[in-house]
């Protein structure tokens, strides 16, 4: 039961990563690429973390995984913001 | 007694920290450190001469787990030469760098370089040698760029990249050795080493890296700009000691650690490259426009002589004739170290006093700076290899060894090289003794002129006349 659930979650996470990567490669401009990347990766990582958390014996390691997810969320949000802002400014002065 | 080994590293390192933390007293600290380290170096040579090879296991860890320091006759002689050269150059540097800010930047790096040279000469561990090589490289680069002119910074940058490449190749060889023998200790390796693909490749990689660092022709391209554009005391140490440190390591690996791995063909390659270095370096020195460039190319040539000994040592049976040849090699290296350091210091005096070092415009130098011109002449005696210099004995052994081994090519190269050296030295002296409108004086600037004079005097006279102990000290081998 638990194995099946975590299999599903990890599989879904993998799917989001794949979608994000395809989006990064295929989408036309920087903003939609950023969108694809951060959205898909954050969700994908969340699913992966939840899926692997179900397999772990110790709550401490689960906590560590959660921390990793939070750190990645914060970092990717901030860096996406920086990249987008930089791109906007570049556009402003052609 | 064996604690001397660690003191020879710890003293200059402590001096470097003290000079860094007390910038106002940096010069005094450095000179005091210099005297103490020189005394330790002399004690080391005395100890090795009387008691044989010295060992020191750092941290008390033995059996390859820790790092061992070792000193035999060869390393003790080179440590002492380092000490004499650095001490003399320090006295000169205390007058050369005039601004307090320059001194504050110079002394810590200078003592770090000395630390690294001693650490390299005394190390008995392959990976530790890699670290010391990097320390030598980085502190030498930082010192070479101290002048701050574009040419110096550019040359230092190239020097750094070449050095890095060299140490990476060396480290690749070290990894191979660890993969096969699971030890880094040189003494253990010397016992277990067997000729085969692993050690051939490892030795080839390590030697390639070291030859790059010691600037053997045709890998010498980085040396002349770096040595010619550094501040004078730094040039002296770079040319006299730093390239020789890498050379020492080649010698150590080929002769003592992996003697059975080395083949006659490999040694012949080194000999041919050495011959190329002698001819090309001397030729370029003859055509140099500036004194410092001349001295730098002369270093390329003089290193060539040292490599001529490799095919001889390989060919000669290991008996007295081989020991004689090895002694000749060492005494040639010592003479060159002292003479070249003295030459660069003397050039520094000329450069600072006349504002340039263009050979064509040196007329009158002998009148204005007689002691310095005399030092240049003495260095010339040593570089050409005239008696009674140490180089004469060294070249004599080179010729004798070539006769004994039947390798005639080296004799021809040595003769041509010496003639070219005579030509480039007399070209300089010819200009320097030309008349200019200056009054006659003797020593004009004590602190600046004496170091060069003493170094070259040692090289050209003392070492040649008192060379016998060198051979007896060299008998203590790892």
């Amino acid at each position: 039961m638990i194995d099946g659930l975590s299999f599903l979650l990890i599989g879904a996470g993998g799917f989001f990563y794949l979608a994000g990567s395809i989006g990064l490669l295929r989408l036309p401009d920087l903003y939609s690429r950023l969108h694809a990347l951060t959205k898909a990766d954050n969700l994908g990582l969340g699913l992966l973390v939840t899926g692997s958390a179900l397999q772990l014996p110790e709550p401490l390691i689960v906590f560590k995984l959660l921390l990793i997810w939070l750190a990645v969320l914060a970092a990717s949000a901030a860096s996406a913001h920086l990249i987008a802002r930089h791109a906007r400014r570049q556009e402003a002065r052609p | 007694m064996s604690e001397l080994l660690i003191w020879l590293v710890a003293l200059p390192l402590a001096g470097a920290l003290a000079a860094l933390l007390l910038p106002r007293r940096a010069t005094a600290t450095a000179i005091a450190t210099g005297v103490a380290t020189t005394l330790a170096a002399a004690a080391l040579l005395h100890g090795v001469a009387t008691q044989g090879v010295m060992h020191y296991a750092i941290g008390g860890w033995t059996g390859g787990l820790g790092i061992a320091l070792r000193a035999d006759g060869l390393s003790a002689l080179l440590v002492l030469m380092n000490a004499l050269v650095v001490l003399a150059a320090s006295v000169y540097a205390s007058a050369y760098f005039r601004k307090p800010s320059q001194r504050a930047r110079f002394w810590p790096l200078w003592l770090l370089l000395w630390t690294s040279l001693n650490a390299l000469l005394l190390s008995g561990d392959l990976f530790n040698l890699y670290v010391t090589l990097e320390l030598v490289g980085l502190s030498a680069v930082a010192l070479a760029s101290l002048g701050g002119q574009t040419a110096a910074v550019q040359a230092a940058l190239r020097y750094l990249l070449v050095g890095l490449l060299g140490s990476m190749l060396f480290l690749a060889g070290v990894s191979l050795i660890y993969a096969a023998y699971a030890t880094l200790d040189l003494a253990t390796l010397a016992r277990v080493a067997e000729a085969g693909p692993i050690l051939w490749s490892a030795l080839a990689l390590m030697s390639a890296g070291l030859l790059l660092k010691t600037a053997l022709f045709p890998l010498h391209f980085w040396l002349p700009p770096a040595h010619a554009s550094a501040p004078a005391p730094v040039s002296a140490v770079l040319s006299a000691l730093v390239v020789k440190a890498a050379f020492y390591l080649v010698l150590r690996l080929w002769l003592d650690v992996f003697p059975d791995v080395v083949t006659a063909q490999a040694a012949a390659v080194l000999g041919v490259l050495g011959a190329g270095a002698i001819l090309w370096g001397s030729w370029r020195a003859l055509h140099a426009e500036r004194l410092k460039v001349l001295a730098a190319y002369s270093t390329v040539a003089q290193l060539g002589y040292l490599f001529l000994f490799f095919p001889l040592l390989q060919a000669l049976p290991s008996d007295a004739s081989r020991d004689l040849a090895l002694g000749g090699l060492v005494i040639l290296a010592l003479t060159h170290g002292l003479a070249k350091a003295g030459l660069f210091l003397a050039i520094g005096v000329v450069q600072q006093r006349s504002g340039h070092d263009t050979i064509r415009d040196l007329d009158g130098t002998a009148q204005r700076l007689p002691a310095t011109t005399f030092a240049i002449a003495l260095a010339g005696v040593a570089l050409i290899g005239l008696p009674p210099s140490g180089a004469f004995l060294g070249k004599w052994q080179l010729l004798a060894g070539s006769f004994a081994a039947g390798q005639w090519l080296w004799i021809l190269v040595t003769i041509i090289g010496s003639l070219l050296a005579a030509a480039y030295i007399f070209r300089v002296l010819g200009h320097a003794f030309g008349h200019g409108p200056y009054p006659n004086v003797a020593v004009t600037l004590a602190r600046e002129e004496w170091p060069a004079l003493l170094l070259t005097l040692t090289a050209a006279v003392v070492l040649g006349l008192a060379a016998a102990p060198v051979w007896s000290v060299l008998e203590t081998r790892l």
Binding site: - | F127, E134, V141, T150, L160, L164, L176, A182
Partner: protein, 95 residues
Amino acid sequence: MLTAHWLYGLTGCLIVALGLRAALLQTSLLRRVVAVNVMGTGVFLVLIAVAYRGPEMPPDPVPHALVLTGIVVAVSATALALALARRLNAEHADE
């Protein structure tokens, strides 16, 4: 599973060759520094592969320590190289 150290070790050799080639051929300083760093990583890969003893045995810690030292040395050299380059740049800008 003793194939892992073969795989990683030989890849290390390949990376050494790639880095060396680029270090000799590159004309831009920055990429030359990158190339030397890549070459160094190749050497480190060889060392770590040598240390690996399969999934059951603990690896040999000595090469790990050597690589740690090597990484720090490499970053020091990189920093010095970039500072020298910056000085050159500044001088060109002043002209």
